[in-house]
């Protein structure tokens, strides 16, 4: 049906009453949205619940999408806000997203288990594992920039920050990721 259409054309169809056309958008972006949610809320069940909520919200407010930015940028802004609300509901400290201590605690909890699994990991899953060890804010910006096909400007827009701030945040996230890989995946890093 609407598979050959671009995002804006599908949105027009949906707004004109073709509700089923929305399934194309869901299928097209479900992996991106789910991955992003998973990086932030860190739990498959929760991530799926939040991702579903994201698509429902996006549908409900689809008329508010003006097409000024990419649909994905708008969609990821909903992901960001929905994930933050979810974490708030779960009474997790949102400010801890940038907190080094939380990052270190998560690190120490996971390191033992992960060290045993290291040898079986492929390069790709190693990166995914390493991203999973990061704090949610770092994991989010890396996923947005590398996997969600967002430019630095769009990433900044999704996160509601200045481009320069996004640049610095991305740099710090990558530095931490590199440290994670060097600490937990020594063998893999050596073999690169």
């Amino acid at each position: 049906m609407s598979t050959g259409l671009n995002d804006n054309e599908i949105i027009s169809e949906v707004l004109n009453g073709n509700q089923q056309a929305y399934a194309v958008l869901v299928n097209r972006y479900q992996n991106y949205v789910f991955t992003l949610c998973l990086r932030i809320v860190q739990g498959r069940e929760d991530a799926e619940e939040v991702a579903q909520d994201v698509f429902i919200k996006a549908y409900k407010y689809l008329a508010d999408f003006r097409g000024a930015a990419k649909f994905t940028t708008w969609l990821y802004t909903i992901v960001n806000n929905t994930c933050i609300s979810f974490l708030r509901k779960k009474k997790l400290d949102i400010h801890s997203l940038d907190n080094e201590k939380v990052f270190e605690v998560a690190d120490s909890q996971d390191s033992g288990m992960r060290a045993n699994l290291v040898e079986q990991k492929s390069r790709i899953s190693m990166v995914n594992e390493a991203i999973g060890l990061l704090n949610p804010a770092d994991a989010e910006i890396i996923t947005l920039f590398y996997k969600a096909e967002q430019s630095l400007e769009e990433t900044a827009q999704v996160l509601g920050i200045e481009v320069n701030a996004a640049k610095v945040r991305l740099h710090r996230a990558r530095t931490r990721l590199k440290e994670k890989m060097e600490t937990h995946f020594i063998e893999e890093v050596r073999n690169l």
């Binding site: 479900q30 992996n31 799926e48 429902i56 549908y59 407010y61 590398y146 630095l152 640049k167 740099h171």
Partner: protein
């Protein structure tokens, strides 16, 4: 360093920051030229560049996670019960916003005109503006309870009418949808 407006660091970290920007293509032309030269002449820069490039490639190769098979179906089932909300821009008319703005500006100008009207411009020979302002008898209009009450009622009525208007608009739009 030409591209470090928000990030200042020295040594290795500063080098990494500049190299990451170089890899991302978010450096200005002059900075790009400087880094390209450093990569040709400085072995430590070259080594770090290769290291970061590998991390960059790895990140690009990472895979997306997939939700459960029923995900799309679940979403479609949920949205079948919903209606798309009317666009905010359609029921919040810009003219109304401007109207409110003009209403308050007119109110402010009215107050100022009234205030200046109360001034005795001919009395006294001091030319200082601050002294003239001190001569305004604010109590004359701020203590006038009738004027205050009248303005307050106007403001409340204005907001009430606006709310009514927006409600009608929203309902009409929902019907259309």
């Amino acid at each position: 360093m030409t591209d470090n407006n928000s990030y200042t660091s020295s040594g290795n970290e500063g080098m990494e920051y500049r190299l990451w920007n170089f890899i991302d293509g978010s450096v200005k032309i002059d900075e790009k030229t400087v880094i390209e030269k450093l990569l040709q002449t400085d072995a430590s820069w070259k080594a770090k560049y290769n290291e970061l490039l590998q991390v960059n490639d790895l990140l690009k190769s990472s895979e997306l996670e997939a939700p459960s098979m029923r995900f799309s179906k679940n979403v479609m089932e949920e949205i079948s019960k919903l209606h798309i909300a009317p666009a905010t821009k359609n029921y919040i008319n810009n003219k109304i916003i401007w109207g409110i703005g003009f209403f308050f500006i007119a109110l402010l100008i009215g107050l100022l005109v009234y205030g200046f009207g109360q001034m005795e411009w001919t009395s006294g020979s001091e030319s200082s503006i601050s002294k003239n302002i001190n001569k305004i008898d604010f109590s004359k209009f701020f203590n006038n309870s009738f004027v205050n009450a009248f303005m307050m009622i106007n403001v409340i009525l204005g907001l009430f009418l606006l709310d009514n208007y927006l409600n009608i608009k929203r309902k009409a739009f929902r019907k259309e949808a």
